[in-house]
Amino acid sequence: MIFATVGTQLPFPRLMNALATLVIDLDEPVIAQTGPDPTRYLALDQRETLAPAEFSTLFQEARIIVAHAGMGTILSARRWHKPLVILPRRHDLGEHRNDHQLATARHVADLPGIHVAWEDAELAPLLRRQDLPSADETPGPGRAALIGRLRDFIAN
């Protein structure tokens, strides 16, 4: 099963249309959390929103996660050790209020298990791969430093 998620705030029809087209020859169910999107994607098992516990369950059961470049999804993939494919939302296509998802994608593209589809056409080869590496939770050196700074602030 492939789990697609685009957050709760904005629809992301470009990703959903791409998946609805792909699902026919992927031969694998796609469960899609579509957010506030009026379109019915008949090829997808569509949910507008998911309770946190349902979200976690689907996330953990999926073979691959495909999503917008939201930090919540990226951190979830690291938490649950899942391969994540992200398609950044684009401001010029009216998909977000600015291009911060492109910046996020550039900055996370080198992390293990985070696979960026810069264009729609890059989704299919990534989703067909059976050996796509998983993300992991290994923190960079900056996390301990940030925690240390907060700990000092709290104590003093």
Binding site: G7, A51, G70, M71, A103, G142, L146, I154, A155
Partner: protein
């Protein structure tokens, strides 16, 4: 350096559901030894992360004025009731409100701007500046451009 008394602080740690909340969860080791109350905007989320005790507050964003009032009323009541020594938020607007009210009652306040804001401070982060004793970006170049502090990042 430890405080002179070493007493546990009362901390309110607040973040909206989604990425903001997940970043707050990754920073939890900073709160060890203190009395923490978690607050988020999505029912069931704190329990899913085993973050106890917690309260759920109404979400809001700058485009929805009524939601802002509802969120502010809940956050204000919470802070007057719990009287935290420290208020910490990773975003978004409900966190800004918490910092503002917290500061009014004498709490020390921390804003950690989301790591999703790799090119500029978030709108909420810009608002939070005047209420935050410690105002952090998780990107060194954003900190340098805005005058925020940089201490590291959750990734």
């Amino acid at each position: 350096m430890k405080s002179a008394t070493g007493r546990p602080r009362r901390i309110l740690a607040i973040a909206s559901g989604g990425g903001h909340w997940q970043q707050l969860m990754l920073l939890r080791p900073a709160f060890e030894g203190h009395e923490v109350l978690f607050a988020t905007t999505l029912t069931g989320l704190a329990a899913e992360f085993d973050a106890h005790p917690y309260v759920t507050v109404p979400d809001c964003n700058r485009n929805k004025k009524i939601a802002i009032l509802r969120s502010a009323a809940t956050v204000t009541t919470l802070i007057l009731w719990k009287k935290p020594d420290i208020v910490i938020s990773t975003g978004a607007l409900p966190g800004v409100i918490a910092l503002a009210i917290g500061r009014l009652i004498g709490a020390r306040t921390v804003w950690i701007d989301s790591i999703a804001n790799a090119e500029e401070m978030s709108m909420s982060g810009k608002l939070a500046r005047r209420f935050a004793h410690l105002w952090l970006s998780q990107w060194e170049h954003v900190a340098a451009e805005t005058g925020a502090d940089f201490a590291g990042a959750v990734l």
